[in-house]
């Protein structure tokens, strides 16, 4: 008798798949020309140095090639992408002042409710611009700055922005970093003064509503000496039949003995090319913790990087990737050890299903100066059917003898032995399999804030039936 295969449903994205008209929104023309870049710069009232920076980045973009590794992105044609779409509203600190349809969008995503219950501040971006930004008084009274990038760029923090903007991720880093430098818009600026510990998280949510558009938000966070912050980033989009592009950039500066946790749940629609760049640098004793869930997008290239520059600095990356039908998600992390006694830990899980392709890609580099560095990498992949694919490509580049580096990886399907064991304890086969898959993801979800862990569990609706084939 032919055995029935365990079925695990794809992620339910219906709660994200709604859209509103954008007839009265401002849009630049499709494509990428110096004129369009200058137009964006003009619309955003850039200072002169930023306008020049954009044009130089555009020049760099044209000089760089698309990578020869990773998923195929030939379906992305920049001539069809609108790089700037501005909603017909100004940024507000009150939800009542946000236009109804945009407010409704964020209500359905649960952002205002989360702000009321568990966040210290929220930024909400709709297409290319922030429409809402607010931070609780008690947090701003501590000297914490949480604002949109445009305000930071022209206000009292201009010099700080100028000193840090795209210094960690220079436009020469890769083609889509250069693209970001040319057309970036929106995003958040956070500054936490020395010694300030922000007890509850800040959150930015990025919603791309326009068809055929790109979102290029820039997040710049500076956590000063001895400070502590948890920042959450969320993103989603409705599904269209044309390609959308996300080429954001996140730059995180973690000061001496400071700590920053950066949590992301990425749930872009399946027409999205997610070519995002995230990087952190840690000074002496600094700690960066990445928690990353990648569930959406058609194609993803996402490898948050940690540069452990200061002695005794530390990085952790905890990530989960779920690649379903039509998805090719290339995710992982990079660690660079420069300071003495630095340590890094990567722990990832990936699940492939319904023809989805999941690739875990990482690099651990230990420079000659990184005496007594320790690095550990653990990655596990679960294949839920035989039409999907899962690859692991982890690299280690060790340039000192005074380092200890360990790596382990495993790929397989749900273990028959584990199912048998649980069944011998009186658990039904269906429940046993559901428990195993939930347990597989649990190591990551428990690192997420509660509301995000709930969202993740909602995302992975596991329906098990029959026995494994």
């Amino acid at each position: 008798m032919e055995k029935e295969r365990t079925e695990v449903n794809d992620i339910d994205r219906s709660m994200y798949d709604f859209r509103y008209s954008e007839d009265d929104f401002y849009r630049v023309d499709e494509g990428l020309t110096p004129e369009i870049v200058l137009q964006i710069s003009k619309e955003k009232h850039d200072p002169d140095w930023m306008r020049e920076f954009r044009l130089k980045s555009l020049d760099t973009y044209h000089k760089l090639n698309v990578t020869d590794w990773g998923p195929d992105i030939s379906g992305l044609n920049m001539d069809d992408i609108v790089t700037y779409v501005r909603p017909n509203t100004k940024m507000s600190a009150k939800w009542e002042e946000v236009p109804d349809d945009i407010k409704e969008t964020f209500e359905r995503l649960g952002i205002p409710q989360a702000e009321r219950t568990s966040l210290a501040g929220v930024g909400a971006q709709y297409d290319s611009e922030l429409v809402y930004h607010n931070v609780k008084d008690e947090v701003s009274e501590l000297g914490v700055v949480y604002t949109d990038m445009e305000s930071a760029l022209t206000g009292e923090y201009e010099q700080m922005v100028k000193d840090h903007f795209m210094k960690l991720v220079p436009p020469t880093d890769h083609k889509f970093a250069a693209l970001h430098g040319a057309v970036w818009s929106g995003g958040s600026f956070v500054y936490v003064p020395p010694g300030v510990k922000v007890d509850i998280p800040l959150q930015s949510y990025f919603r791309l509503n326009a068809a055929g558009a790109g979102q290029f938000e820039h997040t710049l966070i500076i956590v000063s000496e001895g400070a502590d912050l948890h920042f959450i980033e969320g993103c989603s989009a409705p599904k269209y039949n044309v390609a959308n592009l996300h080429a954001g950039c996140v730059e995180l500066y973690v000061g001496k003995n400071a700590r920053l946790r950066y949590s992301t749940i990425e749930n872009w629609s399946k027409n999205m090319y997610n070519l995002n760049t995230k990087r952190a640098v840690c000074e002496e004793g600094g700690v960066i913790e990445w928690v990353s869930g990648s569930f959406g997008s058609h194609i993803s290239y996402l490898y948050p990087s940690s540069i452990l520059k200061g002695d005794g600095s530390r990085a952790e990356f905890t990530g989960i990737t779920f690649a379903g039908t039509g998805q090719n998600l290339d995710t992982g992390a990079k660690m660079v050890h420069i300071g003495k006694r630095t340590s890094s830990f990567i722990n990832t899980k990936s699940i492939s299903k319904g023809g989805g392709i999941s690739t875990y890609r990482s690099s651990v580099t230990v420079m000659p100066s990184a005496e007594d560095a320790k690095a550990s990498v653990s990655c596990a992949s679960l294949m839920l059917d035989d039409i999907s694919r899962s690859d692991t490509v982890p690299a280690m580049d060790i340039r000192t003898d005074k380092a200890d580096v360990g790596h382990e990886a495993k790929i397989g399907r749900i273990s028959d032995d584990a199912v048998f064991y649980l069944m011998s304890r009186g658990i039904s086969e269906e429940d046993a399999k559901a428990m195993i898959v939930s347990g597989f993801a649990d190591q990551v979800s428990k690192e997420l804030p509660l509301e995000y862990a709930v969202e993740m569990n909602n995302l992975i609706q596991l329906e098990m039936k029959g026995s494994i084939g």
Binding site: D401, D404, G412
Partner: protein
């Protein structure tokens, strides 16, 4: 004949970041090919046929179909290396184990090389159905000798056949060395490969194994020691297309002084290879500040009913071991030598031929004596 090499070799089957400089190796240098340093065969065990494929019709029991098939086997160093061997090699040394013969005595191919020698050779080893054959290849020269030695070996293990290939590389520190291996394993067949990469200056090793048959298997044991300015670039690819095929690759070694090593190991679990299982483990001992180690263990998985795993441990001697050794009166240097020997001996122990063991032992003692 002087030949300028501009080769891209040891290419990864799937590319990754270019900044890592691991997607491929490049060889850009000139070599003199004078044909000196051909193999010496001491004796041919009963059941083994040795000949040249150019006149394989003369060999009793030669199978043309098999000969043609073996030529199509991809090798680990890749197409450019294959073209190089095709251009410069005159004929191919063929070793064939007769059907059903379990040949206990190894066939030994000894290459004694000297300074200034430049040789490239091609070999084929075919184990007919149900046969077992062991081939030991030993490449040796004096410690400071300079030259080029390239060897390409294709293996074809037919149904239920076992090929044990032992390669001992003890070339001089100024040698450029290519070791390019390709293997095809049919139903129930096995290839067991043991490599001791101890000598040579710039060493490139590529191994491509296709486990095409049901319950076919590959086991690889590689030991290496890179000291001074030695470099070793390795590329292993194990393709699982046969159901219930199994592979295990263990690579252990040590880097000292300014030595460099790249390791690429790919297990490719192909669609349809149900029940296949692949594992690779790498251990590298780092003994000096100036060493450079790059490791890239890859698993490609296009089938759910499989198991793939890899692990790597890279670093210095653990402080606990060092403390224990010192409490037993050893200096840190002596402890390092002891632990390096232990790692290499765990690979060497796969070899049962006493003469080969003796040669490895002698080489290692001499290498460590120079360090003391």
């Amino acid at each position: 004949m002087e030949k300028t090499l501009n080769l891209k070799i040891n290419c990864l089957p799937t590319l990754t970041w270019n900044f890592l400089k691991l997607n491929r190796a490049e060889v850009n240098e000139s070599v003199v090919l004078n044909g000196r340093g051909q193999s010496i065969i001491q004796n041919i065990p009963n059941g083994v046929i040795v000949g040249n494929t150019d006149n394989c019709g003369d060999c009793n029991g030669c199978d043309r179909d098999g000969s043609e098939k073996i030529k199509d086997i991809a090798t680990g160093m890749g197409e450019e290396a294959d073209r190089f061997f095709s251009e410069v090699c005159d004929g191919t040394l063929m070793v064939r184990a007769k059907r059903g013969m379990e040949i206990r005595e190894p066939l030994c191919l000894d290459y004694r090389l000297g300074s200034g020698d430049g040789t490239a050779v091609r070999q084929e080893i075919i184990a007919e159905e149900g046969s077992t054959v062991t081939v030991i290849m030993d490449y040796t020269s004096e410690r400071e000798d300079r030259g080029f030695f390239g060897v390409q070996t294709r293996l074809h293990a037919r149904k239920g056949a076992v090929i044990r290939l032992i390669k001992i590389e003890l070339l001089g520190r100024n040698y450029l060395h290519f070791d390019d291996i390709g293997a095809l394993v049919e139903d129930g067949g096995a290839v067991e490969l043991v490599q001791m990469e101890l000598g040579g200056g710039r060493n490139y090793v590529g191994v491509n194994t296709e486990l095409a048959g049901y319950k076919s298997s590959f086991t690889g044991h590689t030991g290496y020691l890179c000291m001074g300015s030695q470099s070793l670039d390795m590329n292993y690819y194990i393709g699982h297309s046969g159901k219930k095929s199994e592979s295990s690759l263990i690579v252990r070694g040590a880097l000292k002084d300014k030595a460099k090593k790249n390791f690429r190991g790919t297990i490719d679990l192909k669609h349809g290879a149900k029940g296949a299982c692949g594992d690779e483990q790498e251990e590298t001992l780092l003994l000096s500040e100036g060493v450079l180690n790059k490791t890239l263990p890859v698993i490609l998985c296009d089938e759910d009913d499989v198991e793939g795993s890899h692990g790597a441990t890279i670093g210095r001697l653990s402080s606990d071991i060092l403390f224990y050794m010192q409490s037993r009166g050893m200096s840190p240097g002596e402890a390092e030598i002891l632990m390096t020997k232990a790692k290499l001996n765990s690979i060497r122990n796969q070899i049962t031929d006493e003469k080969s063991i003796g040669r490895i032992q002698h080489y290692m003692e001499e290498a460590f004596d120079n360090e003391r």
